[in-house]
């Protein structure tokens, strides 16, 4: 339906878009993502024929888009602009009826079809009750819905939307998302929407186009292929975690906040934890940039679950079973290969105390070991674990009070 070929555009010497090529298929929802200044708005202007490409072409139904008359184009493409104040007090009804301009003959009043289209558009956008209000008295969110209604009244097969959800509260954001999905599903409308809302884009788009900071295409494809941490890092310069949505399975993007001045640990660290004792330790180590491994842990253990989310390499034992030979021999190389070993405040019992013995071997092999808040109260193995812990301390293991102190202590360890 819309084909973009070798599209380049610049303002003067400043090149804003560099070599875009893609196709928007009929009945497709395409989301366009990218950092500020990546040319999203410029791309939208080129798609709706407001700018003429520097080189390359934008084809609508096989014809260059800027060759269409404005009137003909308005019957093909309806644009929803970002909400901005209107200085003239038109009513909501009058404003939405402006969407019918391209369908009306000069000097003729609104026809029955015009009225029906306006009413339908107002109903779709939950704005019927606003019909008689002046647009100068509306809130930003209400105004945005009115502009959406105006575009819907245009009854064009293609909808272009420019960050329309950024002014809306959560309820109306969801309503607009559902409306776009419905227009697409039930009426086969093609939708191209520029947005900063990753989750919403992933939810309603068939494909996403991710633009890099210099207006170069970074990725184009289904949401789960485009919304990858490394791609988002290249485009936005941020660290994110991407997880499947528990309900829909679609990708969810979680930006990772860093502290004001995070310690940078260039270390391989192996963590012995379990039963939730490793939570804070694992999080802080991952945030500080250390390459973390953990285990052995029972499958289904809270810490094992956290490791999966954080992308920490973990050695697993069967659920609720004592740690066996196989898991220990798998964990051994990780322990001996690490720059440092961390033993969390784990409750010790007959099932896991053998891990401590493996730690002791690693310590004897020269690996530095850190004990986070070791206490005899957590020993349920009949003093066996506490004895090993005491022995470890005697051999030079370092005792720290909590995860924060651990990270500081680790910053003194040099990578090997």
């Amino acid at each position: 339906m819309i084909r973009v070929e070798g599209l380049r555009f610049g303002f003067g010497a400043q090149e804003v878009l560099r070599g875009l090529a893609f196709e928007v298929r009929q009945g497709e929802v395409l989301g366009v993502l990218g950092p500020n200044g990546s040319g999203k708005s410029t791309l939208l202007k080129l798609l709706r024929g407001a700018l003429v490409p520097g080189s390359g072409r934008v084809l609508l139904d096989g014809r260059p888009v800027h060759r269409y008359s404005r009137r003909a184009l308005a019957r093909w493409i309806a644009v929803v602009p970002q909400a901005m104040a209107v200085p003239f007090p038109f009513t909501v009804w009058e404003t939405v009826a402006m969407g019918r301009f391209a369908h009306r003959r000069a000097l003729s009043g609104p026809t029955r079809a015009d009225r029906a289209a306006v009413e339908r558009a107002l109903a779709w956008t939950d704005a019927l009750h606003l019909a008689g209000r002046a647009v100068t008295e509306l809130s930003g969110g209400e105004l945005q819905r009115v502009f959406l209604a105006r575009a819907l009244a245009q009854e064009a097969p293609v909808l272009l939307l420019d960050e329309v959800t950024s002014h809306l509260d959560i309820r109306h954001r969801l309503q607009v998302a559902e409306l776009l999905a419905r227009l697409n599903r039930e009426e086969g409308r093609t939708v191209v929407h520029v947005t900063h809302d990753f989750d919403l884009a992933a939810e309603i788009s068939h494909r996403l186009l991710l633009l890099g900071p210099l207006g170069e295409p970074e990725a184009l494809g289904p949401p789960r292929e485009v919304l990858r941490p490394e791609r988002l890092h290249r485009a936005f310069g941020i660290s994110v975690r991407v997880e499947p949505d528990p309900l829909t399975g679609g990708p969810r993007v979680f930006p990772v906040l860093r502290g004001p001045q995070p310690l940078q640990l260039d270390l391989d660290v192996h963590v012995v934890c379990g039963g939730g004792s490793g939570g804070e330790i694992l999080r802080r180590l991952v945030l500080s940039g250390a390459r973390v491994s953990a285990g052995p842990l029972n499958r289904g253990d809270t810490d094992a679950e956290l490791c999966r989310v954080l992308g920490v390499r973990v050695v697993l034992e069967r659920p609720f079973s004592p740690v066996g030979e196989r898991a220990l021999s798998e964990a051994g190389p990780l322990m001996r290969g690490a720059d440092a070993l961390v033993v969390g405040p784990v409750p010790w019992g007959p099932g896991n105390v053998r891990i401590l013995e493996a730690v002791e071997q690693a310590l004897e092999a020269g690996r530095p070991v850190f004990l986070v808040d070791p206490r005899p109260e957590r020993d349920f193995s009949g003093h066996r674990a506490w004895e090993v812990l005491r022995r470890l301390e005697g051999l030079g293991a370092c005792r720290v009070a909590d995860a924060r102190e651990l990270v500081e202590a680790l910053s003194g360890v040099s990578a090997g």
């Binding site: 009137r71 644009v79 602009p81 003239f88 038109f90 391209a102």
Partner: protein
């Protein structure tokens, strides 16, 4: 569902007809010589006058004068409404695009050159108005002709013209300078009634052109990008609107000099009362502009009778406080 109309829509036309009729009657009655209402109406209806003087005053002096005031007021009111939409500024003035400067320069140049023919001054004013608007349009079009550049170019052309104007006034002998001041203030006494038919025809065509573009004006208030996305050929519409609106302003300037505030206040008041849709706003502004200038002219002829105050002084004295009142109303809104 019932289409929600603008507030007070039902009383719009009756109110305007009544207002216009009342203003016309007032203008016919006002003047140095007090004629009874009944006699004025009788003469207007074609009855024989009690005295030939009275007949001449009503039919040859007051009637053309009233028609002239109505024509100028209607032109300024409707052109002002169109320019406010075109420039996306509800407080814009029809003179904002350098029209006043160009027209004044033309008129004063003709006066100070000692023009003798009665047609010379209005013709020069008309030429000056059209030339300055054309210049503003060409300059602004080089920068995509956005409202912004149009206004800036208009202000600059206006300033340039008024500098030349001041020089001409400084250099001119006393008599033409006094005539020029009258003209600059806005004055309905100078026009020849013989021009009325031609001026009315001209204004009707220009107004029809504006009115036909009502929907385009509605769209332009939403911003040029939005108007284009909704299917409007913005460049063409803008040229048409500037030509028609400019034609109306140039004609009224040629007939009556620079009558201020009608084009600013009238459309603003209409919008506040009956909403901004131009299908209604343009004719309503024309009617209300005509009524306003009829009343102002009547006042200008009676307040210091038998002397006549330039009508532009009256419109400014009424218009400026009213405009400040409107501004305060606007401030009160969120």
């Amino acid at each position: 569902m019932r289409v929600p109309g603008p507030p007070r829509a039902r009383v719009l036309w009756p109110a305007l007809v009544l207002g216009l009729g009342g203003a016309f009657a007032f203008s016919m009655w006002a003047g140095a010589l007090r004629l009874p209402w009944s006699e004025v109406l009788w003469i207007l209806a074609g009855g024989p006058a009690a005295s030939p003087t009275h007949g001449a005053i009503v039919m040859r002096v007051r009637l053309p004068r009233a028609l002239l005031a109505a024509l100028v007021g209607a032109s300024l009111g409707s052109a002002g409404g169109a320019f406010q939409a075109l420039l996306r500024n509800p407080l814009a003035d029809p003179y904002i695009l350098g029209v006043s400067g160009g027209a004044a320069l033309g008129a004063v140049a003709a006066l100070s050159l000692g023009a003798t023919s009665a047609l010379a001054v209005p013709a020069a004013a008309f030429a000056g108005a059209v030339a300055s608007m054309g210049f503003v349009y060409v300059v602004a079009r080089a920068h995509r002709g956005s409202p912004h550049t149009l206004i800036l170019a208009g202000v600059m052309v206006g300033s340039f013209c008024s500098a030349l104007l001041l020089f001409l006034l400084w250099a001119a002998p006393a008599d033409p300078a006094r005539a020029a001041v009258f003209w600059l203030a806005g004055d309905l006494s100078g026009a020849d009634p013989g021009w009325l038919p031609a001026a009315a025809a001209w204004a009707s065509v220009a107004f029809a052109g504006l009115w036909a573009q009502s929907a385009a004006l509605d769209l332009l208030t939403q911003g040029e990008d939005v108007a284009a996305d909704l299917g409007l050929d913005v460049g063409r519409a803008r040229l048409l609107l500037l030509a028609c609106g400019g034609g109306l302003v140039a004609a009224s300037v040629a007939l009556a000099g620079l009558v201020g505030f009608v084009g600013l206040v009238v459309p603003h008041a209409v919008r506040a009362l009956w909403g901004p849709a131009h299908r209604r706003l343009l004719p309503a502004s024309a009617a209300l502009g005509a009524a306003f200038l009829l009343v102002a002219d009547g006042v200008s002829r009676t307040v210091l009778a038998p002397a006549e105050v330039p009508v532009g002084v009256i419109t400014a004295l009424v218009g400026a406080p009213f405009f400040l009142y409107l501004l305060r109303q606007r401030e009160g809104r969120p």
